[in-house]
């Protein structure tokens, strides 16, 4: 079964330790399991509980940004539903590749 890692007990997200779909083990803060709502890649984050739009996203027990939409437990948390409190431009990047979409090449 694929695994994800929750750094701190306060965290509402965990980081995938391999690519995964379906049920995954949650390590780091005692054993647990969560069912992924979609395919989530290694290094990316899964919501461990429902998070309302505007709520802080917590990792390492610290806010790494805020939810821009309601997020359900098991969903992928990334640029499409989480925003930095500092860096506004990152919201415009391609959610899969991280590539810029606001730079004109011609």
């Amino acid at each position: 079964m694929p695994r994800c890692f929750q750094v701190n007990a306060q965290d509402n997200v965990a980081t995938m330790l391999e690519d995964g779909a379906g049920m995954v083990d949650v390590l780091g803060q005692g054993p647990g399991r969560i069912e992924l709502a979609e395919q989530i890649a290694l290094g990316h984050k899964v919501a461990l509980r429902d998070i309302r739009s505007g709520e802080p996203i917590l990792k390492f027990g610290v806010a790494i940004g805020r939810a821009t939409h309601d997020i359900r437990a098991g969903q992928w948390v990334h640029l499409h539903n989480c925003s930095s409190n500092f860096d506004e431009r990152s919201q415009s990047l391609d959610v899969h590749s991280g590539a810029t979409t606001d730079t004109r090449y011609e």
Binding site: F5, V7, N8, A9, Q10, T15, M16, L17, L27, A41, L42, G43, H44, K45, I57, K59, F60, G61, V62, A63, I64, G65, V77, H78, L79, C82, S83, S84, N85, F86, D87, E88, R89, S90, L93, H96, S97, G98, A99, T100
Partner: protein, 422 residues
């Protein structure tokens, strides 16, 4: 203590039993006249303008233990000169040859003079005075042969321990594993190094965005807290003014969503010990312990792309702070190395490690699979550092990687009116 520091705190609570033995481990180093000790005894060729770059590299080509750095600009820059002088007097450097074209502002003769006054054999010449390419390369090779022989015969050998080491750490090509395993493993090692009386240096204040309070909790003294606050505020103003944050497409693709998330992961490399203060580029730590290196330029000289143009630039800054060895944490993988101080490459991503094993020295990904505790990872890393300090080649060193990057920058300048010479 914040929630985040509690997690990192579990990494290395106390010096472990085995550590006391590691702290006593000695190896043979090279004694310099200022009392610092090197883990290598290298000749450094420095060029003072891009026009002399080919000749400098041709002089070093095929020569053992001859490394090259240089500054591309024709107009000189106080920051770049301080950086080159710090590298010329680095404990791993035994002798210096400075090569110029002849028209540029930066004077190779002056660089050699300062290196000589530090007790190192040092020479210089202008290409225009020697003749052309071939004559200059032959002249350079002849000088190298002479000064290398001199340092091989004359440099005193001396026992070294971890207390004699300054180790820098940089991260680049970060992914979701860097903050979970790669950087925390370095943090566990940094705790061991600091407990053994050594110096640990980390940088990238632009990757501490969002962590102001958390950083200040770690200050060793009110003075240190003041220095940390000033460095943090400058970095945040810098990022706001250029609307650029130190996070790249590859980071996002690797699962990092915000600069705050990347910052927390990057800061994990600092371990858990108190931060003694802030140093600038080309400054040495003012005592043992953990230090932050501030490489952000003065505010009146802030321009886009000035602070962390690439990983190599940051590694050069850490070497200028006297690091005899530099650790580089990369989740996605990297094939860079460094001149002067061996680079040890660490990844928290086991897939990256197996795919790029020829370039990677240490797999901290084992922490995530439960094969290794963070404490054990820190200890293994300490053993690896001691092995490289004793003369074992790191992967990038063995592959011949010696990337360097020295740019125009301005730190500690009086005012804009002082111009770019300040």
């Amino acid at each position: 203590m914040s929630a985040a520091s509690r997690w990192m705190y579990t990494a290395a609570r106390q010096p472990t039993q085995g550590m006391s033995e590691l702290a006593k481990t000695t190896w043979s180093g090279f004694l310099r006249s200022d009392g610092r000790k090197g883990v290598r005894n290298l000749v450094l060729v420095i060029y003072t303008v891009e026009c002399a770059q080919h000749v400098a590299h041709a002089i070093a080509a095929g020569e053992d233990d001859v490394h090259v750095i240089g500054f591309p600009g024709c107009y000189d820059n106080a920051y770049a000169i301080r950086l080159m002088l710090a590298l010329a007097r680095h404990p791993n450097i035994g002798a210096v040859l400075a090569v110029g074209l002849g028209c540029e502002y930066t004077q190779p003769g002056k660089l050699a003079e300062v290196a000589r006054s530090s007790g190192r054999p040092a020479e210089s010449f202008y290409i225009q005075e020697k003749g052309g390419t071939r004559t200059s390369v032959a002249t350079g090779k002849e000088i190298i042969r002479r000064i290398r022989e001199q340092i091989q015969c004359e440099t005193p050998r001396v026992p070294m321990t971890l207390a004699d080491l300054t180790v820098g750490c940089e991260c680049g090509g970060s992914d979701g594993t860097s903050g979970l395993a790669g950087n925390p493993a370095v943090g566990a090692f940094f705790d061991l190094l600091v407990d053994a009386g050594g110096r640990a240096v980390f940088e990238e204040t632009v990757e501490m965005i969002g962590l102001r309070d958390y950083m200040l909790e770690r200050a060793a003294s009110p003075e240190a807290a003041e220095q940390l606050a000033a460095a943090y505020d400058k970095a945040e103003r810098y990022c706001q003014s250029v609307r650029q944050y130190s996070v790249a497409p590859g980071n996002f693709a690797g699962g990092l969503t915000t600069i705050e998330e990347k910052s927390l992961g990057a800061f994990a490399k600092s371990g858990t010990r108190s931060i003694q203060g802030v140093i600038r580029v080309a400054e040495l730590p003012r005592g043992p312990g953990l230090w932050i290196l501030d490489s952000v330029p003065d505010e009146h000289f802030m321009q886009f792309g000035y602070t962390n143009p690439n990983d190599t630039e940051g590694i050069m800054d850490l070497i200028s702070a006297g690091s005899q060895i530099v650790l580089f944490v990369t989740g996605r993988g990297s094939v860079i190395g460094s001149p002067i101080a061996p680079l040890i490459k660490i990844t928290g991503n086991s897939a990256t490690f197996s795919r790029m094993q020829e370039d990677m020295d240490f797999n901290a990904g084992r922490v995530l699979t439960g094969e290794l505790s963070l404490e054990q990872a820190g200890r293994e890393l300490a053993e690896l550092v001691v092995g490289v300090a004793s003369g074992g080649k790191s992967k990038p060193e063995g592959l011949g990687h010696r990337e360097y990057f020295i740019m125009y920058k301005h730190q500690d300048t009086p005012s804009l009116a002082a111009g770019c010479r300040a």
